[in-house]
Symmetry: C2
Subunit: 454 residues, 2 copies
Amino acid sequence: MKIQAVKGTRDFYPQEMRLRNWIMDAWRRVSIRNGFEEYDGPIFEYLDLFAAKSGPEIASQLFNFTDRGGRNLAIRPEITPTLARMVNAKINSLPRPIKWFSMPRLCRAENPQKGRLREFFQWNIDVIGENSVLADAECIYVCVDAMRELGLTKDDVQIRIGSRAVTTEFLKLIGVPDEKLDSILPVLDKRAKVPDEAFVEMAKNAGLDDKQIKHICEFQDLPAADAVKEYMIQHALVTGGGVVPGVGELQQLEEILAVFGIRDYWAIDFKVVRGLAYYTGIVYEVFDKGQSMRALAGGGRYDNLLEVLGGPKVGACGFGMGDVVLGIMLEEKGKIPKDLIEQRLDFFVINPDSARPKDGQDSNQVANNAIAGGRRVIEMVTQLRSRGVATDFDYSCFGMPLGKQLKEANRRGAAKAVIIQPDGQTVSIKDLSTGSQKDGVPIKDFLENPGRAS
Amino acid sequence: MKIQAVKGTRDFYPQEMRLRNWIMDAWRRVSIRNGFEEYDGPIFEYLDLFAAKSGPEIASQLFNFTDRGGRNLAIRPEITPTLARMVNAKINSLPRPIKWFSMPRLCRAENPQKGRLREFFQWNIDVIGENSVLADAECIYVCVDAMRELGLTKDDVQIRIGSRAVTTEFLKLIGVPDEKLDSILPVLDKRAKVPDEAFVEMAKNAGLDDKQIKHICEFQDLPAADAVKEYMIQHALVTGGGVVPGVGELQQLEEILAVFGIRDYWAIDFKVVRGLAYYTGIVYEVFDKGQSMRALAGGGRYDNLLEVLGGPKVGACGFGMGDVVLGIMLEEKGKIPKDLIEQRLDFFVINPDSARPKDGQDSNQVANNAIAGGRRVIEMVTQLRSRGVATDFDYSCFGMPLGKQLKEANRRGAAKAVIIQPDGQTVSIKDLSTGSQKDGVPIKDFLENPGRAS
């Protein structure tokens, strides 16, 4: 019987796996150089953990199941609840700030489409136990650092930064009652994602009147923190002397990001609100500048989550970046190194003694020579591997002609072929990219410093 | 609400994560230097894929669930079915032999106990499309290579090698009918795992008579391939001229393993049969020599699996090694490097300008100096990180006393502290392990070659 992979999942053949490793190695390298430590949790948790964070309706968006003990479990659709659970469990012994990263495999019960799969990897960067906007700024810096590491420039991507605090305050000032905020914020998040008429329709359905909607549109189009205060004074929403919560923090963020030297990578955009209820402060999304609606990453401050999950109130912020949209974008923009396509071996060891006798040769003698040569190949292979260099050989080397072994060496992407001469004392080293060959190299000398291809 | 992790799963805090990465990096390094390429599949598959390989009873041993489309899915309990599915899907375009490895996360609906969890990682090495015993030998070599890479010697571990072919032939020769072989092989696999009386009981229940059981015990205690033939002649099971299937292959394996230079790491042991039905040839298990019943890894030849899953009949062999028993053993034997415990940073950048004015200082001036110093810290941090060195700083560096920042640098495992002098031109570099300090280093010189800690 022939069984397929499940729709929305991926098979990582070696070529796809090298791409995945290339992306994940970059994520890890960037995380570590920015002072973050790696963690991970289980692939499944109690369903309640996800429901506690996102409400019971989350159950339909993830894969849940019951174990033999009747426990309701679910494959993780995100790692933040696990992170909060883990930190809460050791809250008294973990020195803060906690700077952690993870690259979890996540699953969501989506309808698969381009850029959206049912299984993916997501890089997560989080700072827990720090209320300062410096932590938000550093997370944004780390995000830019990763973009650059993967070859993406300010012409490719932009981080658009909003503020839940400012947006919430603005909504209050234009008369939105507190109890409606949670349902209206996700509507504002749709502003840039749907046509204008659709947005107005959604806003009206959420209970906003025409004047409020006009205010919101004008507010969401403001270009910087400074402009918010001006707008509010201009429309008599606040007086000149008043402090608008969140605005000062956003101004501070702008200043610190300049010190971090990433001025070209971001812009203030109050259309970025983020859909999830749990954000409390600065929020941001990374967009592909070519296709502005495509988000590569998103995050923000979530100061209440640990408390919601049974811990203390502790400041926290961070972001997540998935591998699917990122991979599509890197591919489209030609940022994936060409040499990722092929396996790379340092050496391919070859026995030049074919088992096929030529005219006049004694066939037993030829066969014995071929076997002795094959044994020398294996011995050399183990010597090289034990020195840490990637080495292989042909399983048919006990008698296959030299030419066929060389062909296999090329197919396998070996940098050099090592042909063990029948004297058992010397090797010929053939550079497979240039074709140049060095003969008569004593085996002892060669093994002393075989060198690496990469 | 406070929610726990599910029993039988693990939280990988940074310390545990470093150990997991240390093990998995070794697996990957060994795989690549032995010429294997990495692959991976989805964490869930159609339940039928696992049932096709292992029978419908597998459903109770794994976590299965139904998606919204009513599909019966399961979290993978092993990766071999996925491997076979992937290879079958591209069987005509993949050059053989296929030498692949993977380090999948796997889940089984076990009752958790020491060394056996519901979620674990398993290194898999497989060679597909090669019938020669050379492939079996190479897999065994790779297994030894990994043991040595992790610091385990011939005094710690031993690979015990059996042969399904020889064992099956022996059972036939002592009169076991073909249709009973599948149910009797798993009984033989229990021989070393249960007391003698229990084994005899199981064997009788499986339909073996006393004479057959005696034969089996004597056979299973034979020390090498040679001895099998002798035993068979001695007991008139075969004649002197006859060929016993599997024996020649096992002798060949013994010879090739000697050429691979790992003579001290293995022994023939016909008590190793492997429980699973799908093995067809040479089989082996890696045991902890200290606790001989504890298996670290196991594998063998499985020439029929691709065909069972809808592909052609293609020779295949390989092994799997889990991370749980391995981790326990490495810990017990003190093989885990001590410096894995701590985070390692190359540099921790420090602002020596505290915001607290001393007697007679102008407090505004002091505050401004502290802020300027903090900005210099961030600028230096970004310079160092962009050079790929792991660097961090204290979020409170805009004013916290030098001593507290140094303390934090030590806690974070930084190799060196970089104290930016108020002149803005020079730094002091303090080696945090020796305490020695070099003052007045021009920033330009320092950044030209900051060096790494590790």
